[in-house]
């Protein structure tokens, strides 16, 4: 306090007395709830999601690559969804690791991981909408389906989806940067107290040049994610699948109930996984620039972490909901397992792997069989 003595002489200028300073300080928030949530969810839950997603989606890709040529429009879509989901879960451990370790992998990893996250999110969601449209055309608009459901056409649509996803992700590539936040780095502090400025950690977050740019982009990007990455696919799915269910219920097919159940499962999983996160994101975006208490901000952040993890889970469920539910796909997959077993008898070492795969196969079969045998009509 000695170095401030000259200030006390003109203290009257600002009209303070010492009793003014009895209040509790309102300081920067330290997210405690979110912190503990992240510590649990970060390494453990994400590991499980990552493993399930890697196994499920690589099985889909391997099946397509080795046994089942992409013959139909749906095959092309399913393969693309699997690729998008696989890329997504493959980047997940790196994102989690970096969030936990002050982005130790540096600026290139920051841009790449955030950008690819966005590309995979958009492409995955839009492809799910494409699949529902494809099924709508196949079942409801049967007359047009021969013209609209060609292989070249579907490849073109997939290319367009990836291009659109890339385009929508350009702002993420551009604005995410690797830096030390200036409010924890550049503190102007008297020499005697300057030790607290050292060692600011790096983050990978938005950085803008202008305040107006910051205000618009911080609202525009989540809004775009909500609109194109959630509400558009949701609307398309609800429209297409309700038309499909209507048609199926009118049809005289003894397996129609199973097909309806598959449709309901697809929509229900989409809503259960994506709706909580997107509602939280919507609330967060709407209240972003408003003044909040630290407790409120902390709870919101923790809610975002939990619901986001639920949204990640969607990637692991897609292979079961879309690919393994189909009878044809399962038959191809069965051939893989049989071939693997043959290989396993020949070699001693790989036997372990084939057993693991067949266990997964059996469990996925069991979980799916009950719901639908008529899934083939959905994965033609």
């Amino acid at each position: 306090m000695d170095n401030f003595q000259e200030d006390t002489s003109n203290q009257s200028y600002l009209d303070y007395n010492d009793t003014d300073f009895d209040y509790d300080l309102i300081g920067p928030c330290s997210p405690q709830n979110n912190h503990s949530v992240q510590l649990v969810v970060g390494p453990y839950v994400h590991s499980i999601i990552c493993i399930l997603g890697l196994v499920g989606n690589s099985l889909v890709i391997v099946t397509y690559a080795l046994y089942k040529r992409t013959k139909s429009m749906t095959d092309v879509y399913l393969l693309n969804v699997a690729v998008a989901d696989l890329l997504f879960v493959a980047s997940l451990p790196f994102i989690v690791y970096n969030e936990l370790s002050a982005w130790s992998m540096g600026p290139v990893a920051c841009k790449l991981l955030r950008g690819s996250y966005s590309v995979n999110l958009y492409s995955g969601m839009l492809l799910l909408a494409c699949i529902s449209t494809d099924r709508y055309v196949a079942i409801v608009q049967v007359r047009r389906s021969f013209r609209l459901r060609s292989l070249a056409y579907s490849r073109l649509i997939c290319a367009a989806v990836w291009a659109l996803a890339g385009l929508l992700s350009l702002p993420s590539f551009y604005f995410y940067s690797w830096y030390q936040p200036s409010h924890s780095r550049d503190a102007f502090i008297d020499e005697k107290h300057s030790n607290s400025t050292a060692g600011a950690e790096y983050v990978c977050e938005f950085r803008f040049r202008y305040t107006t740019e910051a205000h618009t982009t911080k609202v525009a990007l989540p809004s775009m994610q909500l609109a194109v990455g959630f509400f558009l696919p949701l609307l398309v799915m609800v429209f297409c699948y309700s038309a499909i269910v209507g048609k199926l219920l009118r049809a005289r097919n003894f397996q129609r109930h199973k097909a309806v159940r598959v449709v309901l499962a697809v929509v229900a999983v989409f809503v259960v996984c994506q709706l909580p996160y997107n509602l939280t994101l919507l609330y967060d975006t709407a209240s972003m620039f408003r003044l909040q208490s630290c407790e409120g901000a902390d709870v919101l952040q923790a809610a975002k972490t939990v619901t986001q993890t639920l949204a990640y889970l969607h990637c692991c469920l897609n292979p079961v909901l879309y690919a393994f539910v189909g009878v044809k796909f399962r038959n191809h997959f069965r051939r893989i397992v049989q071939d693997l077993c043959c290989l396993g008898k020949r070699y001693i070492r790989p036997r372990r792997f084939s057993r693991v795969t067949s266990e997964i196969y059996v469990s996925s079969r069991r979980s799916v069989d009950g719901s639908s045998e008529n899934g083939s009509s959905f994965t033609m």
């Binding site: 200030d7 600002l14 300081g27 912190h35 510590l39 990552c50």
Partner: protein, 102 residues
């Protein structure tokens, strides 16, 4: 066969990586609201600036006091008065030290 072996290896490695990370998440606490009361300038040891152009959602001047950090509204006059005083003091120190060097 090779691809499955490779993917099992990758999965195992990733899991080990994740589970081995015992680092705690890093937080750059942002100010989410402002002090309602004034802080006497002589209690302030330093300040840092939080801008909306980075990760935080609002602009703020963070005063470092003996009691801890305080978030204040940069739109208020008393806040900028205190900032200017600190700045002036730094300037005076700078002038004195350059004179001493000569």
């Amino acid at each position: 066969m090779v691809s499955i072996k490779a993917s099992v290896m990758v999965i195992t490695l990733l899991t080990i990586c994740l589970l081995a990370t015992n680092a705690s998440p890093v937080h750059h606490g942002c100010c989410r609201s402002y002090m309602k009361n004034k802080i006497p300038c002589f209690k302030i040891k330093g300040y840092s600036v939080q801008t909306v152009t980075e990760l935080c959602p609002i602009n703020a001047i963070i005063f470092h006091t003996g009691k801890g950090k305080a978030c204040t509204n940069p739109a208020l006059n008393w806040v900028m008065d205190c900032v200017n005083r600190l700045r002036n003091k730094a300037h005076i120190v700078h002038m004195k030290s350059t004179k001493a060097d000569i």
